[in-house]
């Protein structure tokens, strides 16, 4: 059942649309890891996820989910994974109890006790209609469904967007609990990088249909650094030593991908730790090199 190394393995995924191309995407979610899929709105996160789930046909590339081909073994793969979208897909007339009856027949490994356990844990009313639930409650209900059939892989597309910080933190705790049982993996797409900073093991940056950067979160945060300098000092930096430069009235900020090397080469410079959000911003503007 779990003889795979990577829960998700995407190689050379390409999908053309008018005005947008998902270009040769390679993405891996190692078994037992939470991978944050970061990018601006319209960067290609949802298209990648829809391609993985065979919601949209791909032009070329290979996608494996839990070691299974995403088209040939589609049904088997979908039995073993859960998906959470940004909006609640259950009709407003359903109650959680009725939804349980629906999903009980759809999933081979559906666990009724687990589902009701999650409803209690998330304090979701069993007989209240979906239309009467708050956005946070609807999201928790979606998560309860996704986690109640022993899914080995959880795919979330902007699941925490539009939720207040308290609910977002509660949801992140749910994912931490889910990961306590071994061999489980999560791919979490979001543009809220602070959430991923708290929970992700690995991070993949996508922009304009291309993967800009990927790696272990701690390594990325450790290797990258934010150099703060004056405009005069900025002239001394070689362009190949920084990703891009943010220039404003107070001075210049440069993002370096090799903090240790930069510290040696520019010994007088102030190099600070950075965040995923800043890394994303500087990479997105890498082509322009200078931005404000």
């Amino acid at each position: 059942m779990s003889d795979y190394e990577n829960a998700v393995e995407i190689r050379g995924l390409t999908k053309h649309y008018d005005g947008f191309t998902l270009d040769n995407i390679c993405l891996t979610v190692p078994k037992g890891c939470i991978v944050g899929f970061i990018g601006q709105n319209g960067a290609g996160k949802t298209t990648t996820i829809h391609s993985m789930l065979n919601i949209i046909p791909i032009d070329s590339g290979e996608i494996k989910l839990l070691g299974l081909d995403h088209i040939r073994d589609e049904q088997e793969a979908k039995e073993r994974m859960g998906v959470v979208f940004d909006e609640c897909p259950f009709g407003e007339v359903f109650t959680p109890v009725q939804l349980e009856r629906v999903f009980r027949g759809l999933y081979r490994n559906w666990q009724t006790d687990t589902f009701f356990g999650y409803l209690n844990q998330f304090q979701l009313p069993q007989k209240k209609k979906v239309g009467e639930l708050s956005k946070g409650m609807k999201m928790k209900l979606q998560i309860a469904v996704a986690l109640s059939h022993d899914a080995e892989l959880l795919i979330m597309d902007e699941a925490t967007s539009g939720l207040d910080p308290i609910v977002r933190n509660e949801i992140l705790d749910i994912f931490r609990d889910y990961m306590m049982t071994g061999n489980r993996s999560i791919l979490m797409s979001s543009h809220i990088t602070s959430d991923l900073e708290k929970i992700a093991d690995c991070v993949v940056f996508i922009d304009n249909g291309k993967i800009l950067l990927s790696g272990y979160k701690d390594e990325l945060l450790e290797s990258h650094g934010l150099i703060k300098c004056t405009r005069e000092e900025y002239r001394e930096f070689a362009p190949e030593d920084y990703i891009s430069a943010r220039i404003n009235d107070f001075g210049v900020q440069l993002m370096t991908a090799d903090r240790a090397a930069a510290a040696v080469k520019y010994s007088g410079a102030i190099i600070e730790k950075t965040t995923l959000e800043e890394i994303m911003q500087f990479y997105v503007n890498a082509k322009k090199k200078e931005w404000s």
């Binding site: 829809h50 949209i56 897909p89 009709g91 359903f94 999933y107």
Partner: protein
């Protein structure tokens, strides 16, 4: 099978409000027909010769038609389910579930068949009660009438399936929804013209009962002709609904 049953249950939850409403209205109409029937038997319409003649000839039989029309059309509607699914973006989510388009389309058609069987049985009960209220024996032709009405009700359902099932988002849904009244209006115009032609050739006056009589007579002839084809046509229409539903589900991936 478990998947199909689950999906049928899902459709029931989505549509049950309207289906139960249809049943409630039918029960009300049945009460009204029964009341008219007993009133007629007790001589309440003795002053109206034409009405008495009509009841004498077709009592407990002719009056059931509006109930048929109402119940079959309500039983058939899937528009509510489509609207709910589009609003909640169910189509996208359903593609993440371990259920292929085939069981989903089968569940859709099976639920439709269940609705029609239940409707058929209710209509049968309605016609028996109605006939008894007018002091008439149950006419076997009623079964053929119910079958014909069921086929007629399936035609607009095919239209709904064809147009609504193609919609992917609320904007496309509204666009498709706006096409349905146009399609119905076109069908209504054709039926109206045919009726007008039939009335003209019958050479009747403006009295509704006199106008209806030759049409009903003509219908009896048509019924006799189409009777052997009712079940094959009904099955054919169900297959058509299945093909349209499956094609619409398959095409969700093409966007």
């Amino acid at each position: 099978m478990a998947k199909i049953m689950s999906l049928i249950y899902r459709e029931w939850i989505l549509m049950r409000k309207k289906l139960l409403l249809g049943l409630a209205v039918t029960a009300g109409l049945l009460l009204l027909i029964t009341f008219i029937g007993f009133s007629y038997q007790n001589g309440a319409f003795d002053g109206n010769e034409k009405l008495c003649n009509l009841f004498a000839k077709r009592g407990g039989y002719f009056e059931v038609y509006p109930v048929m029309l109402l119940l079959t059309s309500v039983a058939g509607t899937s528009a509510d389910a489509y609207e709910s699914d589009i609003k909640s973006n169910w189509a996208r989510y359903s593609m993440t579930l371990p259920a292929e388009t085939r069981p989903r389309a089968i569940a859709h058609v099976l639920f439709m068949l269940i609705r029609f069987i239940v409707t058929f049985l209710i209509l049968l009960a309605v016609s028996v009660v109605s006939a008894a209220a007018f002091g008439k024996p149950f006419a076997k032709e009623m079964i053929a009438d119910i079958g014909i009405f069921s086929c007629l009700a399936l035609l607009p359902i095919c239209l709904v399936e064809f147009f609504m099932g193609k919609a992917r988002d609320p904007i496309a849904y509204k666009k498709q929804q706006s096409r349905i009244p146009i399609a119905f209006a076109a069908c209504g115009t054709v039926v109206g013209l045919l009726l007008a032609r039939a009335m003209k050739s019958a050479g009747t006056g403006s009295d509704p009962f006199t106008v209806l009589q030759p049409l009903l007579d003509k219908y009896v002839t048509i019924r006799h002709t189409v009777q052997p084809f009712i079940i094959p046509v009904f099955i054919g229409l169900l297959v058509l609904v299945y093909v349209i539903a499956k094609r619409n589900l398959d095409s969700l991936k093409q966007s």
